[in-house]
């Protein structure tokens, strides 16, 4: 019988899969998964504060700032001052951003297909966690 795969190898495989997924998304749509998530949130929630967005997409504010700069340079979002509190920024999707998002949404289904491969890997990790729990 083959040796069962070590769960850490599965975790590594999941990481690799997600990395490749991200590369594929960038190649096909010009957007990373994180950037796509930001645009997805903004289309539903126009004029969002930076703080709200950071909580919604679970990104540290400094990491978010970098992503926002890139999206803004590509004219996919607009960052403006909050008229009621000039220290704060509000972020909105631009027409161009909507166009790219619509296109990316169509592509995402295809891009996300390899996600089914994750299932086996996660199964191994899950079994490992269960065995850890029961051996306690």
């Amino acid at each position: 019988m083959d040796n069962p795969q070590h769960p850490l190898k599965s975790v590594f495989n999941v990481g690799l899969l997600l990395h490749n997924l991200n590369k594929e998304a960038e190649r096909k749509t010009g957007l990373s998964i994180v950037q796509w998530s930001i645009l997805k949130y903004l289309i539903e929630m126009p004029a969002t504060s930076a703080q709200e967005l950071s909580e919604a997409v679970r990104l540290h504010p400094s990491t978010l700032t970098q992503s926002l700069k890139r999206l803004s340079r590509k004219d996919l979002i607009i960052v403006t001052e909050d008229p009621r509190d000039l220290r704060k920024k509000i972020i909105s999707l631009t027409r161009n951003g909507k166009k790219i998002l619509d296109y990316s949404d169509q592509q995402m289904e295809q891009i996300a297909k390899p996600l089914t491969e994750i299932r086996n890997e996660l199964f191994i990790v899950e079994n490992f966690l269960i065995s850890l729990k029961s051996s306690k």
Partner: protein, 252 residues
């Protein structure tokens, strides 16, 4: 407040059109010009057509201090959502609450007529009975300042004590616990599962919307006023058609 007609601010306005947004409008001084006789307020044919056209693209509401019956007389096109009496009408307020409001207003009216010095009633102060609230107008008064003071004095002694909302040459008296326009807008959004809204108004009664903490409500005031809580402003009421055309352009 920032100018609405600025390219960055218009981009934010445009982003509202990408999702389900409620477009809500005050009536007097916003959809219609302010006139000396409130009964003669009219919405222009063009504004009316633009309002109707917008309603084919997005949910539209008129939120006013007027009663719904009165609003319907003035609107040639009646949108799906018409909110009257600052939110008491049009949001499914329980009939017994309305009945009580009606009784309270009738009692107040009698008291005001009895106690307001006759000189004010003679010199242009008018009590408008909106069934579930009262509006005491002093726009036509020749002694506006005195008239306002006399109205406020009587109103603060009424029983039950009314919720007062001051507008342009008008003191609105609402039964205690009655909503204001801000509550009305949020309730309308909740009832219809809408997360973002556009609101435009010209008056102190609209500050209840402007001061809502919800970042998802894009607020515009007709006229620049330093102390207003609105985010954006247009210079004057005559720019309302430009506002409509700008929004409609986003849907084309």
């Amino acid at each position: 407040m920032k100018k609405l007609f600025n390219s960055d601010n218009l981009k934010i306005l445009e982003s509202l059109s990408f999702t389900k947004t409620l477009y809500a409008f005050d009536f007097d001084g916003t959809l219609s010009k302010i006139v000396t006789e409130p009964g003669k307020a009219t919405i222009s044919m063009t504004t009316n057509l633009l309002l109707e056209e917008l309603s084919t693209h997005a949910p539209v509401a008129v939120i006013s201090g007027r009663s719904i019956a009165d609003l319907k007389k003035h609107l040639k096109f009646v949108p799906k959502h018409v909110i009257g009496n600052h939110g008491l009408e049009g949001l499914g307020t329980r009939p017994d609450v309305l009945e009580t409001a009606h009784k309270i207003c009738a009692t107040w009216q009698t008291t005001i007529k009895k106690h307001l010095p006759a000189e004010h009633l003679k010199s242009g102060v008018e009590i408008e009975d909106k069934k579930f609230s009262l509006a005491i107008h002093y726009r036509k008064s020749i002694a506006k300042k005195n008239a306002k003071l006399a109205i406020l004095k009587i109103a603060s002694n009424l029983d039950p004590r009314p919720r007062m909302i001051l507008g342009k040459c008008v003191v609105n008296l609402l039964p205690p616990g009655a909503p204001h326009k801000g509550v009305a807008l949020v309730e309308l959004m909740l009832q219809n599962g809408i997360k973002s809204a556009f609101y435009i108004g010209d008056d102190d009664t609209d500050e209840d919307v402007f001061s809502l903490p919800n970042a998802r409500i894009f607020t515009v005031r007709v006229g620049n006023k330093r102390t207003s809580q609105a985010q954006y402003y247009i210079q004057k009421q005559s720019e309302i058609n430009k506002v409509f055309k700008t929004i409609l352009h986003f849907f084309r």
